[in-house]
Subunit: 138 residues, 2 copies
DNA sequence: AATGATAATGAGAAGATTTCTCATTATCAC
DNA sequence: GTGATAATGAGAAATCTTCTCATTATCATT
Protein backbone atom coordinates (compact mmCIF):
# COMPACT_ATOMS: atom_id res chain seq x y z
CA UNK A 1 0.00 0.00 0.00
CA UNK A 2 2.19 2.80 1.24
CA UNK A 3 5.13 0.83 -0.14
CA UNK A 4 3.91 1.59 -3.62
CA UNK A 5 3.87 5.29 -2.76
CA UNK A 6 7.54 5.06 -1.88
CA UNK A 7 8.29 3.32 -5.14
CA UNK A 8 6.24 5.82 -7.11
CA UNK A 9 8.41 8.54 -5.60
CA UNK A 10 11.41 6.90 -7.25
CA UNK A 11 12.75 5.63 -3.94
CA UNK A 12 13.71 2.12 -3.03
CA UNK A 13 11.50 0.37 -0.53
CA UNK A 14 13.69 0.09 2.52
CA UNK A 15 12.92 -0.78 6.11
CA UNK A 16 13.60 2.72 7.49
CA UNK A 17 11.33 4.31 4.89
CA UNK A 18 8.50 1.88 5.50
CA UNK A 19 8.83 2.28 9.28
CA UNK A 20 8.77 6.07 9.11
CA UNK A 21 5.82 6.23 6.76
CA UNK A 22 3.87 3.67 8.79
CA UNK A 23 4.59 5.56 11.99
CA UNK A 24 3.36 8.85 10.54
CA UNK A 25 0.21 7.17 9.26
CA UNK A 26 -0.44 5.39 12.53
CA UNK A 27 0.27 8.43 14.68
CA UNK A 28 -1.72 10.83 12.58
CA UNK A 29 -0.34 13.85 14.40
CA UNK A 30 2.47 16.27 13.86
CA UNK A 31 5.83 14.70 14.67
CA UNK A 32 9.29 16.20 14.58
CA UNK A 33 12.21 14.29 13.12
CA UNK A 34 13.43 13.68 16.64
CA UNK A 35 9.99 12.40 17.73
CA UNK A 36 10.06 9.91 14.89
CA UNK A 37 13.61 8.88 15.74
CA UNK A 38 12.87 8.34 19.45
CA UNK A 39 9.64 6.44 18.86
CA UNK A 40 11.35 4.09 16.43
CA UNK A 41 14.23 3.56 18.85
CA UNK A 42 11.72 2.79 21.59
CA UNK A 43 10.08 0.28 19.29
CA UNK A 44 13.42 -1.45 19.02
CA UNK A 45 14.32 -0.32 15.53
CA UNK A 46 17.89 0.40 14.60
CA UNK A 47 17.79 3.69 12.84
CA UNK A 48 19.97 6.78 12.58
CA UNK A 49 18.76 10.32 13.12
CA UNK A 50 20.38 11.34 9.85
CA UNK A 51 18.28 8.76 8.06
CA UNK A 52 15.10 10.12 9.61
CA UNK A 53 15.90 13.64 8.44
CA UNK A 54 16.93 12.40 5.02
CA UNK A 55 13.85 10.28 4.53
CA UNK A 56 11.45 12.94 5.79
CA UNK A 57 12.95 15.44 3.37
CA UNK A 58 12.63 12.94 0.54
CA UNK A 59 9.02 12.23 1.48
CA UNK A 60 8.35 15.93 1.52
CA UNK A 61 9.79 16.36 -1.98
CA UNK A 62 7.73 13.40 -3.11
CA UNK A 63 4.57 14.92 -1.69
CA UNK A 64 4.02 12.08 0.77
CA UNK A 65 4.37 14.26 3.84
CA UNK A 66 3.99 17.95 4.59
CA UNK A 67 6.45 19.93 6.70
CA UNK A 68 5.17 22.55 9.10
CA UNK A 69 7.45 25.21 10.55
CA UNK A 70 5.75 26.17 13.76
CA UNK A 71 7.43 28.66 16.06
CA UNK A 72 10.08 27.41 18.38
CA UNK A 73 12.64 25.26 16.71
CA UNK A 74 11.84 21.99 15.10
CA UNK A 75 9.88 21.34 11.95
CA UNK A 76 7.04 18.88 12.30
CA UNK A 77 5.78 16.46 9.69
CA UNK A 78 2.42 14.95 8.90
CA UNK A 79 1.11 12.64 6.20
CA UNK A 80 -0.07 14.64 3.21
CA UNK A 81 -3.82 14.13 3.36
CA UNK A 82 -4.15 15.65 -0.07
CA UNK A 83 -6.30 18.47 1.22
CA UNK A 84 -4.47 21.60 2.24
CA UNK A 85 -5.24 22.94 5.69
CA UNK A 86 -3.94 25.47 8.18
CA UNK A 87 -3.24 25.08 11.88
CA UNK A 88 -4.24 26.22 15.32
CA UNK A 89 -1.52 25.53 17.89
CA UNK A 90 -1.98 25.68 21.66
CA UNK A 91 1.08 27.42 23.07
CA UNK A 92 0.53 25.78 26.45
CA UNK A 93 -0.07 22.09 25.76
CA UNK A 94 1.02 21.86 22.15
CA UNK A 95 -2.31 20.62 20.85
CA UNK A 96 -2.69 21.11 17.11
CA UNK A 97 -6.02 21.52 15.34
CA UNK A 98 -6.47 21.68 11.61
CA UNK A 99 -8.86 23.88 9.71
CA UNK A 100 -9.63 25.01 6.22
CA UNK A 101 -11.44 28.22 5.51
CA UNK A 102 -12.54 28.92 1.96
CA UNK A 103 -12.94 32.63 2.64
CA UNK A 104 -9.36 32.99 3.85
CA UNK A 105 -8.04 30.98 0.92
CA UNK A 106 -9.90 33.20 -1.53
CA UNK A 107 -8.78 36.41 0.14
CA UNK A 108 -5.17 35.24 -0.09
CA UNK A 109 -5.50 34.78 -3.82
CA UNK A 110 -6.96 38.24 -4.16
CA UNK A 111 -4.15 39.76 -2.09
CA UNK A 112 -1.45 37.98 -4.07
CA UNK A 113 -3.03 39.16 -7.30
CA UNK A 114 -3.13 42.73 -6.05
CA UNK A 115 0.61 42.63 -5.34
CA UNK A 116 1.45 40.78 -8.55
CA UNK A 117 2.52 37.62 -6.75
CA UNK A 118 1.99 34.06 -7.93
CA UNK A 119 1.32 31.94 -4.85
CA UNK A 120 3.51 28.88 -4.45
CA UNK A 121 2.75 28.13 -0.85
CA UNK A 122 1.42 29.71 2.26
CA UNK A 123 1.48 29.15 5.97
CA UNK A 124 -1.16 30.30 8.39
CA UNK A 125 -0.72 29.35 12.00
CA UNK A 126 -2.89 30.70 14.79
CA UNK A 127 -1.20 30.48 18.19
CA UNK A 128 -3.35 30.58 21.28
CA UNK A 129 -4.63 28.73 24.32
CA UNK A 130 -7.00 25.84 23.88
CA UNK A 131 -10.04 25.34 26.07
CA UNK A 132 -8.44 23.00 28.59
CA UNK A 133 -8.43 24.50 32.10
CA UNK A 134 -4.68 24.13 32.59
CA UNK A 135 -4.05 26.03 29.38
CA UNK A 136 -5.96 29.07 30.60
CA UNK A 137 -4.21 29.85 33.87
CA UNK A 138 -2.33 33.07 34.24
CA UNK B 1 13.13 60.02 20.47
CA UNK B 2 13.74 56.30 20.13
CA UNK B 3 16.04 56.59 23.12
CA UNK B 4 13.02 57.21 25.29
CA UNK B 5 11.44 54.05 23.92
CA UNK B 6 14.46 52.11 25.11
CA UNK B 7 14.22 53.70 28.53
CA UNK B 8 10.47 53.05 28.71
CA UNK B 9 11.22 49.39 28.13
CA UNK B 10 13.28 49.41 31.32
CA UNK B 11 16.55 49.16 29.44
CA UNK B 12 19.55 51.41 29.76
CA UNK B 13 20.32 53.60 26.80
CA UNK B 14 23.49 52.13 25.42
CA UNK B 15 25.32 52.66 22.18
CA UNK B 16 24.59 49.18 20.77
CA UNK B 17 20.88 49.54 21.52
CA UNK B 18 20.63 52.97 19.94
CA UNK B 19 22.58 51.83 16.88
CA UNK B 20 20.41 48.75 16.37
CA UNK B 21 17.15 50.63 16.78
CA UNK B 22 18.29 53.43 14.50
CA UNK B 23 19.39 50.93 11.87
CA UNK B 24 16.05 49.14 11.91
CA UNK B 25 14.21 52.44 11.64
CA UNK B 26 16.43 53.71 8.85
CA UNK B 27 16.35 50.47 6.89
CA UNK B 28 12.64 49.94 7.25
CA UNK B 29 12.84 46.38 5.95
CA UNK B 30 13.13 42.96 7.45
CA UNK B 31 16.63 42.31 8.75
CA UNK B 32 18.07 39.21 10.35
CA UNK B 33 20.31 39.45 13.40
CA UNK B 34 23.25 38.70 11.18
CA UNK B 35 22.23 41.42 8.70
CA UNK B 36 22.16 43.92 11.55
CA UNK B 37 25.53 42.71 12.81
CA UNK B 38 27.21 42.92 9.42
CA UNK B 39 25.81 46.34 8.57
CA UNK B 40 26.97 47.75 11.88
CA UNK B 41 30.42 46.23 11.42
CA UNK B 42 30.59 47.77 7.96
CA UNK B 43 29.66 51.11 9.46
CA UNK B 44 32.68 50.77 11.71
CA UNK B 45 30.85 49.95 14.92
CA UNK B 46 32.37 47.57 17.42
CA UNK B 47 29.61 45.20 18.31
CA UNK B 48 29.24 41.52 19.11
CA UNK B 49 26.81 39.17 17.44
CA UNK B 50 25.64 38.00 20.86
CA UNK B 51 24.71 41.57 21.71
CA UNK B 52 22.68 41.90 18.54
CA UNK B 53 20.70 38.76 19.32
CA UNK B 54 20.30 39.79 22.95
CA UNK B 55 19.14 43.31 22.12
CA UNK B 56 16.76 42.20 19.39
CA UNK B 57 15.15 39.73 21.78
CA UNK B 58 14.83 42.46 24.41
CA UNK B 59 13.31 44.83 21.88
CA UNK B 60 10.88 42.12 20.89
CA UNK B 61 9.81 41.59 24.50
CA UNK B 62 9.45 45.34 24.90
CA UNK B 63 7.26 45.54 21.83
CA UNK B 64 9.70 47.76 19.94
CA UNK B 65 10.33 45.26 17.17
CA UNK B 66 8.48 42.29 15.74
CA UNK B 67 10.12 38.99 14.91
CA UNK B 68 9.07 37.10 11.79
CA UNK B 69 9.91 33.43 11.31
CA UNK B 70 9.89 33.05 7.58
CA UNK B 71 10.86 29.72 6.09
CA UNK B 72 14.50 28.94 5.68
CA UNK B 73 16.48 29.58 8.76
CA UNK B 74 16.92 32.97 10.25
CA UNK B 75 14.35 35.09 12.02
CA UNK B 76 13.96 38.60 10.68
CA UNK B 77 13.09 41.69 12.62
CA UNK B 78 11.25 44.90 11.81
CA UNK B 79 10.26 47.96 13.80
CA UNK B 80 6.85 47.47 15.38
CA UNK B 81 4.71 49.88 13.42
CA UNK B 82 1.91 49.40 15.91
CA UNK B 83 -0.39 48.00 13.25
CA UNK B 84 -0.35 44.26 12.83
CA UNK B 85 0.17 42.99 9.31
CA UNK B 86 0.93 39.80 7.46
CA UNK B 87 3.50 39.12 4.75
CA UNK B 88 3.98 38.15 1.15
CA UNK B 89 7.48 36.82 0.50
CA UNK B 90 9.02 36.32 -2.94
CA UNK B 91 10.85 32.99 -2.85
CA UNK B 92 13.09 34.08 -5.71
CA UNK B 93 14.33 37.55 -4.83
CA UNK B 94 13.34 37.76 -1.18
CA UNK B 95 11.11 40.80 -1.59
CA UNK B 96 8.69 41.22 1.28
CA UNK B 97 5.33 42.97 1.00
CA UNK B 98 3.05 43.71 3.91
CA UNK B 99 -0.71 43.49 3.92
CA UNK B 100 -3.63 43.55 6.29
CA UNK B 101 -6.95 42.00 5.43
CA UNK B 102 -9.88 42.60 7.75
CA UNK B 103 -11.80 39.65 6.36
CA UNK B 104 -8.99 37.22 7.10
CA UNK B 105 -8.52 38.65 10.59
CA UNK B 106 -12.22 38.24 11.33
CA UNK B 107 -12.33 34.71 9.96
CA UNK B 108 -9.42 33.75 12.19
CA UNK B 109 -11.30 34.93 15.25
CA UNK B 110 -14.33 32.91 14.21
CA UNK B 111 -12.22 29.80 13.64
CA UNK B 112 -10.45 30.14 17.00
CA UNK B 113 -13.80 30.54 18.72
CA UNK B 114 -15.16 27.45 17.01
CA UNK B 115 -12.23 25.40 18.34
CA UNK B 116 -12.33 27.00 21.80
CA UNK B 117 -8.98 28.73 21.35
CA UNK B 118 -8.02 32.15 22.67
CA UNK B 119 -5.75 33.76 20.06
CA UNK B 120 -2.43 35.04 21.35
CA UNK B 121 -0.69 35.48 18.06
CA UNK B 122 -0.84 34.38 14.50
CA UNK B 123 1.42 34.21 11.50
CA UNK B 124 0.29 34.28 7.91
CA UNK B 125 2.94 34.22 5.25
CA UNK B 126 2.19 33.81 1.57
CA UNK B 127 5.18 32.52 -0.40
CA UNK B 128 5.28 33.07 -4.11
CA UNK B 129 6.97 34.77 -7.02
CA UNK B 130 6.70 38.50 -7.39
CA UNK B 131 6.07 40.18 -10.73
CA UNK B 132 9.69 40.82 -11.64
CA UNK B 133 10.67 39.01 -14.85
CA UNK B 134 13.65 37.22 -13.29
CA UNK B 135 11.39 35.84 -10.56
CA UNK B 136 9.10 34.15 -13.06
CA UNK B 137 11.51 32.01 -15.06
CA UNK B 138 11.18 28.26 -14.91
C1' DA C 1 31.73 66.06 38.10
C1' DA C 2 33.08 61.79 40.88
C1' DT C 3 31.32 57.41 42.96
C1' DG C 4 29.40 53.03 43.19
C1' DA C 5 25.74 49.67 42.45
C1' DT C 6 24.11 47.43 38.77
C1' DA C 7 23.25 46.42 34.09
C1' DA C 8 25.29 45.67 29.55
C1' DT C 9 28.85 44.22 26.55
C1' DG C 10 31.90 41.24 23.63
C1' DA C 11 34.21 36.95 22.85
C1' DG C 12 34.04 32.48 22.76
C1' DA C 13 31.92 28.28 24.31
C1' DA C 14 27.92 25.71 24.09
C1' DG C 15 23.23 24.27 22.69
C1' DA C 16 19.85 23.00 19.23
C1' DT C 17 18.49 21.61 14.84
C1' DT C 18 19.70 20.00 10.49
C1' DT C 19 22.82 18.52 6.77
C1' DC C 20 26.99 16.38 5.00
C1' DT C 21 30.58 12.67 4.42
C1' DC C 22 31.86 8.26 3.71
C1' DA C 23 32.63 3.47 4.55
C1' DT C 24 29.47 -0.32 4.90
C1' DT C 25 25.16 -2.58 3.74
C1' DA C 26 20.79 -3.43 1.42
C1' DT C 27 17.82 -3.28 -2.69
C1' DC C 28 16.32 -4.85 -7.04
C1' DA C 29 16.68 -5.48 -12.19
C1' DC C 30 18.72 -8.86 -14.61
C1' DG D 1 22.14 -15.38 -7.30
C1' DT D 2 24.84 -11.40 -8.94
C1' DG D 3 26.27 -6.80 -9.51
C1' DA D 4 25.37 -1.94 -10.14
C1' DT D 5 23.58 1.36 -7.54
C1' DA D 6 21.16 3.47 -3.92
C1' DA D 7 20.54 3.77 1.08
C1' DT D 8 22.12 3.53 5.70
C1' DG D 9 24.22 4.80 10.22
C1' DA D 10 27.67 7.21 12.79
C1' DG D 11 29.92 11.01 13.56
C1' DA D 12 31.59 15.36 11.88
C1' DA D 13 30.16 19.73 10.46
C1' DA D 14 27.17 23.61 9.30
C1' DT D 15 23.88 26.98 10.83
C1' DC D 16 21.43 29.74 13.90
C1' DT D 17 20.88 31.12 18.53
C1' DT D 18 21.73 31.36 23.49
C1' DC D 19 24.75 31.14 27.48
C1' DT D 20 28.84 32.31 30.45
C1' DC D 21 31.69 35.36 32.46
C1' DA D 22 35.22 38.73 32.97
C1' DT D 23 35.38 43.50 31.67
C1' DT D 24 33.15 47.87 30.79
C1' DA D 25 29.53 51.32 30.61
C1' DT D 26 25.40 53.55 32.50
C1' DC D 27 23.11 56.48 35.63
C1' DA D 28 21.13 57.78 40.26
C1' DT D 29 23.18 59.69 43.99
C1' DT D 30 26.32 62.42 45.89
Amino acid sequence: MENQDIKKAGLKITLPRVKILTLLEKHGGHLSAEDVYKILLDEGEEIGLATVYRVLTQFESAGLVVRQNFEGGQSVFEIDSGTHHDHLVCIKCGKVEEFLDATIEKRQEAIAKKFGFTIKDHALVIYGCCDKAECNLE
